[in-house]
Each structure stands twice: as structure tokens, then as C-alpha cells.
Amino acid sequence: MALSGIQIYKMLPQTNCKECGFPTCLAFAMKLAAKQVELSACPYVSDASKKQLAESAAPPIRLVTLKAGTEVKAGNEVVMFRHEKTFYNKPGVFIRVKASDADAAKKVAAADAYKVNYVGMDFVIDGFAVEADGGDFVGAVKAVRDATKRPLILIAKDVALLDSALSLLAGESALIYSADASNYEAFADVAKKHKASLVVTGDSLDALADLTQKIQAKGVEDIVLDLGGKNLSEWLQRSTQARRLAIKSNFRALGYPVIFFAGQNGAAKEPVYAAQAISKYAGFVVLDTFTPELAYALLVLRENIYTDPQKPIQVQPGIYEINSPKPESPVLITTNFSITYFAVANEVEGSGLPAWLVVCDAEGMSVLTAWAAGKFDAERIAKAIKSFNVADKVSKKRVVLPGHVAVLSGELEAELPDWEIRVGPREAVDLPGFMKQALN
């Protein structure tokens, strides 16, 4: 269980020696509770405390890392709901190809090259799964490996096949699929031999827990669960149950990341299946279909769900058009804290009045906070007006400052000598009224 700052504080020396870099032991304890610092920073902590703290800090879901030319991590999650803290490791999105498919390598190459940009970030497909379905499995794995440097999942029932295929992937950490009650010993051996992670399958959580314990006893630690579940409902329930057992009951036998095959009921259902898996606790999502539009939608969803809710979200700085503004429409200024942006944009949008909304880079802070911290001043506002070429879009050089920073108007006049500076209302709610009355 996670300990509170005060509980941790009681295990520390309480000397306020400052050697950890924090002014008091309590400050250090609170940082420890928030997992923002390592216990090793304290030179004087007792061994007993160390042990106790390490136990409380162990993640309830094991971190499993697949590695090739790139890396994919799953696990290490600590909450059921993202608002409680955050979801940490985004589920890896894999594309499955079949060994018998003559175009397998070509399909992989196409998906491997896929790259899409979302608010300044590049998203890619994380890896590929190769399934033995007759034909030359080892050859297919080799062809796929030549087509991509990303981590692989190898799917086969025949351990000998897997052994040969894994020999091609020396130095990598692949994921093999899958061990069940009948074959787990052989699978565990081959996983151990090749330092691969191992998926276990079973038709119930009981069966899975039983297997993971046996496999762990054989020396394989990096385990991934396939929970089964033949439709959305079954999968949601099992996934929730496994996560609860791991996180709330601290049930180690199910404290592993989960893999989900989204194409199991056909391509038509695949988008929705994959979307549920992303929201509901999957560590790896395997798709049978690769299309850019689906990949883009799913990768954006994943990014959104895995965004740290504790961090204020920023809007891309720039000039935003609201209600199709014309050159004579007013220019409004705000910061790039998303809640601030949405408040302003929604009010103006709701009023039906056209406007240009200039969003300044204020490091994601609200107007007052940013101003207080020196991130929203005349210089920054002027820079935004200039760099977004606002002057080229409007016929009337007039900007409206948020009322909370009325004090900046003088300096802004100096920074933008050919612009008229107007002070708007303090609250977004009053913007429409202000625009109607004062800006004609």
C-alpha cells in the first residue's frame, strides 16, 4: 500500500540535515510519497525503514519491456482510473501478419514506415506479431525482421518453431504466445533461454493465476496475460477484475500486463474493440488491420487516455479562428492553458460573434498564474502577435487584453506601437457583452 508523507516521515531520521537536497525530512518524505525522488538520496535511513519503504513502493503490475531496435513497455500501473494519478505505459499497438501471407513482409514494411504527427508528437506503430499458420514461420519471421527494427510478438503452438525463430532475434526481448496448462513448461524453458517475455492463456482468472505462479517458479518473470473474453463485455469484465486484483488486492499472480487481440471478431468490430482495450487496461493491443485512418484514431485515443491528468494541458499557441472571422473582426488574446483557452473560445463561439483568438505560449498556465510567474507579459504577447502574422489577417490593428492583466497595456503599447490596445473583461463570460458594446 502507498504510504502517506507523514507515515514515511516517521521512518526517516527526522534530523532535517538537508543532505538529500530538501529543506526538511518531511519535505523529502512527501516527495517520496509522490514518487518524485529515490529513497537512496537519504544517507541516514535505517535498513529496516529501507525494507519497509521498498515494499510499499513496488508496483502492483510488473513492468514488461519488449526490446529490439526500439522498445515497448507495459505494466507498472498503479490506478484503476486515470484521474486517481495517471496511466503510465501506453499500450503498444502491434499489427499481426500470418506466416502464410506472401505479402506479410510488405505489409509490415508499410506499417513500419507509418508516422503521423499529433500536436507536435510523432506516432508510429510499435511492433508486429507474426503468427505461425503453416508455411515457413522462421522464414516469415526473418522477412519481417528485415522489414522492421521494432519489437516482435511470435505466435506459434510449436515450441521448436519458436525456438528457431527466436534464435534469429538474438539480443532482443521478444514476446512469445502462448503458454497454457498443457505446454507451459516447454514454453517457459524457451522463454528463459531466449530472454523472451511469455504470454499465458487460460479460460479463467484462476487458471491464469495458477499458470503464472508455475511459470514464475520456472524462472520466467516477464509474463503477459491473455484474458480471453469473446466479446466487449467479457473482456471489459475480465480486464477490470484482473486489474482490481492486482492493484486493490495486491494479488501478485495477476500483476502482469494484459494483451488483447482486437481483430478476433472481424474487421468491422476491430476499431471499437481496440478502443475499449486502450481505455480499459490493455498493455498490448494487436490489430489485424492496418489502415492509416484507424492507426491515427487509435494512437490519438491512446495519447489522450494516457495523458497525465495532473498536468495542465496546453493548447498549441497560434491564431485560432472563431465563427469565421473577417479582417475587421476583433483580435483577442489569451494563454495556452487549455481550460483558459476553452473558456474563452466557448464563450465567444457561443455568442456567434466572429473573432481572432491569439493563444500565447504561457507554458500552459492560466492568465493570472502565467502573469504572476512572468510567462505572460507584454514582450511575449507582442512576440505572439508578430510571429503569427496577425497584422496580415486584420484590417483594424486592435488587440483585446484579458482584464486580469490590464497593467500590461502600457508596456504592450510600447511593444506594439502601431496597435490599439484595449483592456477586455476579467472573466471570459463577460467577453460577448464586451465585444458587442465596446468593440464597435
Binding site: 463485455s233 469484465q237 471499437v272 481505455s279 492507426a295 487509435l298 485515443l301 476553452f342
Partner: protein, 314 residues
């Protein structure tokens, strides 16, 4: 030893809210729709069944919109010129409820007429949205509420700015209100408190916590809804209301759905992408507890309804 699955037993539950009144109930609808009643988190059937599955509403407008994506124009065609025709087509497309969105151009008389024509064209329950400006909304919604007394329509959008007027007319005329707040658990709860403080029973209120589309802040809406539903189950009366979401409106506002040209190649096929955008936005919200899902494209309606069937089937 078999594993004991941890089951949550919640002290609270979501209230049931019914939209639409049949002839027997004092209205003219051919059926009413009840949502809410959940006693646990969405679709955890191992804890409790889903008493009322989420329903899909289709949004139509009193006048053909000029800012909708051409993809929507393709599917609705000429019906967009006539709200009654459009409503009929929406019913055929699988809508459980019709949302009629009024525009700033509507006069109170026009608006009442449009509402009446939609009520005449379909037997489904109706939600009416004002154009979204507090004063104009009041001007349109009050005469509509009076003209449709007893139909148990839902009046939107009721916000902190105009709640007194909308709630008063809903109380006087037997309607339901759609309480909208901008993506914040506390604001949602506060508006519910203000509304019920006026004397409108909580089972005549549906929350609209707002959400962003996929890629445009959906995570806020997602978490706000999860938190609201958790609070409801924990026994907080002022969050125990069903939730309405508008993924259609949000997703079709996004560039990803709206336009097909001048976008990155990596975005793929326009139409498929647009449907994904609306469907995935809707699905994320379904998973976090939405009860009424307002959509725009018939294909999305089909996909979302299919998914909901899978989720509620025992």
C-alpha cells in the same frame, strides 16, 4: 483455492430519468425512453446488470446547416431542408431519441413550428436545443416548453447563466432539463444543486458534462464522467443523474472529420476516418458512463448501438 473477485458494493445509484410521454402519460409519443438506474460502474455485469442501456439520439437542425461536413450532407440529403423529414430519416437510421437543434435565425414562432412538425413526424421522444446563447435560448425555449406541455421533452441547454428561466418553464410544463457545464466535476454538481434547489425533482434533470472530441480534450470529458459516476455510486445525490454526451457535435467539428482535403496523408481515408472519429469518441464516453449519446452519422449510430448491445448482453 479459487480467486475471490473483488466486487464493489456501492451505497448509491443513478436516478432513472424518462424522456417523452406516451398518450397514456399525457403526451403524444409512441414510446418513452428511460435511462439511468445503474448501481455499479458501466457494464460490470459481474456486479450488477445494466438496468437501462444507453441510447442513441440523432441530432437534426431546424434549418439546413451550412457548416456541416459534406459527408453528412451526403447521407441526409434533401431531408436536411425539412426537420420533419430529417427526423423520420433519423428514426429509420436507428435513433432512440431525436435532438432538434435550433438556430439563431429562428424566431420563437418558427421554433415552435419546427418542434411541432418533428413531434408530428416521429413518435420518438424529443430533445430541443436552443442555439446556445443564454438569452436567445430563453426566448425560444419558453414558448416551446409551453406549446409542448406534457410531452416531457428535454430542454437544452440549461446553463448556470439561464438556469432559472429554463428550470421554471420545465417545472411548469412537465419537461426535463439538460444541465450543461464545461467539463468540470464541481461545476456539474453545482448546477445540479442550483436546479434542484429551485424545486425541480432530480429525476427531471440530465447532466451534460460536455466533452471534447478525440484529440481535442476527450480525456477531460472521460475523466469528468468517470468521477461523476463514481461520486454518484458513492452516494453523492447531486451527481446521481444520467449523462448526455455529444460526440457527434464534437467529432464533426474536428478537422479530422470535417474536411477531406489539405490534410496529412497519414490521416488516411476521409470517410472511414470521420466515422472512426465519431465512433471512437462516442465509445470512450460510453465506457465512462454516458447514457444518451448524440450522434450525427448513421454509420456511427449503427456501430455504437452494436457495441452497446455487446456490452449489456449477459
Amino acid at each position: 483455492m479459487p480467486i475471490e473477485i473483488p466486487k464493489d458494493k456501492w451505497p448509491g445509484s443513478v436516478k432513472k430519468v424518462t424522456l417523452g410521454a406516451t398518450t397514456a402519460e399525457g403526451g403524444t409519443r409512441s414510446r418513452s425512453v428511460t435511462v439511468g438506474g445503474q448501481t455499479t460502474l458501466p457494464y460490470l455485469l459481474f456486479e450488477a446488470p445494466t438496468p437501462n442501456k444507453p441510447v442513441v439520439a440523432i441530432e437534426i437542425k431546424s434549418h439546413k446547416p451550412d457548416d456541416w461536413s459534406p459527408l453528412l450532407g451526403e447521407v441526409w440529403g434533401d431531408a436536411m431542408n425539412d426537420p420533419a423529414q430529417w427526423a423520420k430519416k433519423a428514426e429509420e437510421a436507428g435513433a432512440d431519441i431525436i435532438v432538434l437543434a435550433l438556430t439563431l435565425a429562428d424566431s420563437p414562432e418558427d421554433a415552435v413550428k419546427a418542434v411541432k412538425s418533428v413531434l408530428g413526424a416521429t413518435g420518438l421522444p424529443l430533445i430541443v436545443w436552443g442555439p446556445g446563447q443564454a438569452e436567445k435560448d430563453n426566448d425560444l425555449l419558453v414558448p416551446i416548453a409551453e406549446a409542448t406541455k406534457g410531452e416531457k421533452i428535454m430542454l437544452g441547454i440549461c446553463e448556470d447563466k439561464n438556469y432559472r428561466t429554463i428550470v421554471a418553464t420545465a417545472m411548469a410544463n412537465g419537461h426535463v432539463v439538460q444541465a450543461r457545464t464545461p467539463m468540470d466535476v464541481n461545476l456539474a454538481k453545482q448546477l445540479n444543486i442550483l436546479i434542484t434547489d429551485m424545486g425541480l425533482p432530480a429525476d427531471r434533470v440530465i447532466m451534460d458534462p460536455t466533452t471534447g472530441a478525440l484529440g481535442y480534450g476527450i480525456e477531460y470529458g472521460y475523466s469528468v464522467m468517470e468521477r461523476l459516476r463514481l461520486a454518484a455510486l458513492q452516494g453523492d445525490g447531486m451527481t446521481q443523474l444520467p449523462m448526455l454526451v455529444t460526440p457527434g457535435f464534437e467529432a464533426w467539428k474536428a478537422k479530422e472529420s470535417k474536411v477531406g482535403e489539405g490534410v496529412p496523408e497519414a490521416w488516411g481515408d476521409w470517410k472511414a476516418r470521420a466515422i472512426h472519429w465519431e465512433t471512437l469518441t462516442a465509445m470512450a464516453l460510453v465506457e465512462s458512463g454516458a447514457d444518451i449519446i448524440v450522434l450525427r452519422h448513421p454509420e456511427s449510430v449503427k456501430r455504437v448501438k452494436d457495441a452497446v448491445e455487446e456490452l449489456v448482453a449477459a
